[in-house]
């Protein structure tokens, strides 16, 4: 009986193990695996590096936003990154928003308010594709969640442009990127050294830009992450204590069963 119990327990662990190791392997692509980076937000206690995320927002605003929307974000969300109320208002006000119809049935332009969604660079998907060689630049709000490899992939992609190896033909308007599935990507290399002028004295290298904007995108994809992890600790500690007590109760109740 004891032997069987041990055997079954081992098998159960194997089941869990098989489930846990097998799942992430499913969607492995043909592209090179982007190397793991150290992120402020990884791990059980990780939080978003506010300074990096603010710089990342600047990179998004000044570089990425010319083609990519982040339509699930509102300007008010930026307060989470440490922008003050006035700064958020100023950022929102720097955009023109089409609103309406007014009482006369006319659409009108007004400056943005914190409740507005991030303004997308193109009015719709077709317009976006038409301006970009027929390829629609995807919305970036969920990008780190929507790709295998997450933040490591996004960072890898941003710095992974290189000259195509001999024998690989890169069509007009495409670029070679070793981390992109299929290697030929429609997006031209978006970042260069000093693409953006940082105001906090951080050295504006391409790698720094990529790291910062990836941190910003990770926050955009999972703005609830910090609250989730904080709550998780409490929930797990509570459940551990509760289970301990329940075990003691069970032991006590079963004491005299033979």
């Amino acid at each position: 009986m004891k032997m069987n119990m041990i055997k079954t327990a081992v098998a159960a662990l194997a089941l869990v193990g098989a489930v846990t190791t097998a799942v992430p392997a499913f969607a492995a692509g043909e592209a090179a695996k982007p190397p793991k980076q150290t992120w402020s937000f990884s791990g059980l206690f990780g939080t978003y590096d506010r300074a990096a995320a603010q710089r990342g927002f600047q990179v998004y605003k000044e570089v990425c936003a010319s083609c990519h929307g982040m339509s699930l974000l509102s300007y008010r969300h930026l307060a989470d990154l440490g922008f003050s109320e006035d700064e958020v208002k100023a950022i929102a006000a720097s955009y023109e928003i089409e609103d309406g119809p007014d009482a006369d049935g006319e659409m009108f332009e007004r400056s943005g308010i914190p409740a507005d969604r991030f303004v997308s660079p193109f009015p719709n998907k077709n317009a976006a594709a038409a301006s970009n060689n027929g390829k629609f630049p995807p919305d970036l709000t969920l990008m780190t969640k929507a790709r295998v490899g997450g933040a490591d992939y996004v960072y890898g992609l941003l710095v992974g442009y290189e000259d195509a190896p001999s024998g690989v033909e890169v069509p007009d308007g495409g670029s070679y990127n070793k981390y992109f599935p299929g290697q030929i990507i429609a997006m031209a290399p978006p970042l260069v050294d000093e693409a953006v002028e940082y105001t906090d004295g951080t050295k504006p290298t391409m790698a720094q830009h990529a790291k910062d904007v990836t941190t910003f995108m990770a926050w955009a994809a999972e703005p609830e992450m910090e609250e989730r992890k904080r709550m998780g600790i409490k929930v797990l500690l509570f459940l551990l204590v509760l289970s301990g007590l329940l075990y003691a109760v069970k032991r006590k109740v079963w004491e005299n069963v033979h």
């Binding site: 009986m1 089941l15 929507a146 989730r228 069970k250």
Partner: protein
């Protein structure tokens, strides 16, 4: 039940509607339960717990969700971002689906190992298999609702399976879709059915528990309860044991909810559905992968298909669809496929070995189901599919009838006393 010591209000109610004695006979002191149940018997109550968690979290999600192709994806993201604790409710529901299948699969493998399906519990087992089928339908439709890429393409692939049915196949698919492709009518009816099905499951669970209470739980020795010495009251013994199990299970569950909420999911489902862009690998949720592997094993050159009469009467695609459904429906016949007089594999060493091979084979099928259908994966998948059916149709019937079991204990009580020595 002794009503004399009751509170007057309870007594008043009991006299008119005997809920208290009903509870006492259902999970109280008056429900005799074998005293040797091990922790594998916790998974029934765990499944009940997950079902309740799924229904409650699901109803809250439904209050905020919009079943329309233009709004479904964004309404889920609104739940994640703007609804108070919406992320928590959604991650509980999303991971709860995986937890439900983990718990139920363990529950079923426990039944298979200890012969719980044998007489007089055949109907109990059969109802359980129907619960699994209802769960699968519910989970499949639920996965479509966020309207991501995998939602859309998973729905397209799976509903298209029905087109393999001769004559009426295409009409069935049109009916499922509510049109000529997976579109808004499909999403609407899937939402309606996804809301309905859990209550069908609740009904089946009530019947499952009703059937359970007729003869009571089976037990690790597989021998019948013979005297009062073999049993203890469900309360307080198994109420406390089940509660402890729930605590441990919730630690496991909540770890995923808070620290790896997208572990069981596919990144592609965070890309809004696009009927014009097919994902590179369309994979169902992990709990369908073994069945997906069986479905895909039936290629035109699969020996089991090409070299048998199957090839004369149907196309390989239809054979795959039928095999996939048969792989679950065959479980209904377990009580008769297994001809052994002894229930528990603890006393059937050869059958126990066959059980573990079958279990391992299911894991292999799951692994193959998640891999692209190419090269060595196809061969392994085809062999594992063959073995799955060989186990149920040949190994179980033969081994159960030919193996001579080891002597079983005289009674549950005797086995417990012996183990305590």
């Amino acid at each position: 039940m002794d009503t004399n010591n009751m509170h007057p209000v309870m007594k008043w109610v009991e006299h008119r509607l005997p809920v208290f004695s009903f509870l006492d006979h259902s999970l109280g002191t008056q429900y005799p339960t074998p005293k040797n149940l091990n922790y594998w018997w916790n998974f029934g109550s765990l499944a009940g717990l997950v079902l309740v968690i799924m229904i409650i979290s699901g109803i809250v999600l439904a209050m905020h969700y919009t079943p329309h192709v233009d709004h479904a994806f964004n309404s889920v993201e609104r739940i994640m971002r703007d609804v108070n604790y919406g992320w928590l409710i959604r991650y509980i529901h999303m991971n709860g689906g995986s937890m439900f299948f983990i718990v139920v699969y363990i529950h079923m493998f426990r039944g298979l190992y200890f012969g719980s399906y044998q007489a007089p519990r055949e109907l109990l087992w059969i109802i359980g298999v129907f619960i699994l089928l209802a769960m699968m339908a519910t989970a499949f439709m639920g996965y479509v609702l966020p309207w991501g890429q995998m939602s859309f393409w998973g729905a397209t692939v799976i509903t298209n399976l029905f087109s393999a049915i001769p004559l009426v196949g295409d009409s069935i698919v049109t009916l499922l879709w509510g049109g000529f492709s997976v579109d808004n009518p499909t999403l609407n009816r899937f939402f309606a059915l996804h809301f309905l099905m859990p209550f069908v499951i609740v009904g089946l669970v009530v019947i499952h528990i009703w059937a359970l209470h007729v003869h009571g739980s089976s037990n690790p020795t597989g021998i019948d309860v013979k005297s009062e010495q073999d049993t203890i009251g469900f309360h307080p013994y198994f109420t406390t044991k089940d509660l402890f199990g729930m605590g441990i299970f919730l630690i496991f569950f909540m770890f995923f909810v808070f620290y790896a909420p997208n572990f069981f999911g596919e990144p592609d489902n965070y890309i809004p559905a696009d009927p014009l862009v097919t994902p590179a690998h369309i994979v169902p949720e992990w709990y369908f992968l073994p069945f997906y592997a069986i479905l895909r094993a039936f290629t035109p050159d699969y020996i089991v298909y090409a070299w048998t009469p199957l090839a004369w009467i149907m196309e390989a695609k239809l054979a795959g669809v039928l095999a996939m459904f048969a792989s679950i429906l065959l479980l209904l016949f377990m009580p008769w496929l297994d001809g052994s007089k002894v229930r528990s594999c603890s006393f059937r060493p050869i059958m126990a070995m066959a059980f573990w091979l079958f279990f391992l084979n299911c894991l292999v099928l799951g692994y193959i189901g998640g891999k692209p259908a190419e090269g060595i994966f196809v061969t392994i998948g085809q062999f594992s599919t063959f073995y799955y059916f060989a186990h149920l149709l040949v190994i179980v019937p033969l081994v159960s009838r030919l193996e001579r079991p080891k002597p079983v204990p005289d009674s549950i009580n005797a086995s417990v006393l012996k183990a305590a020595e």
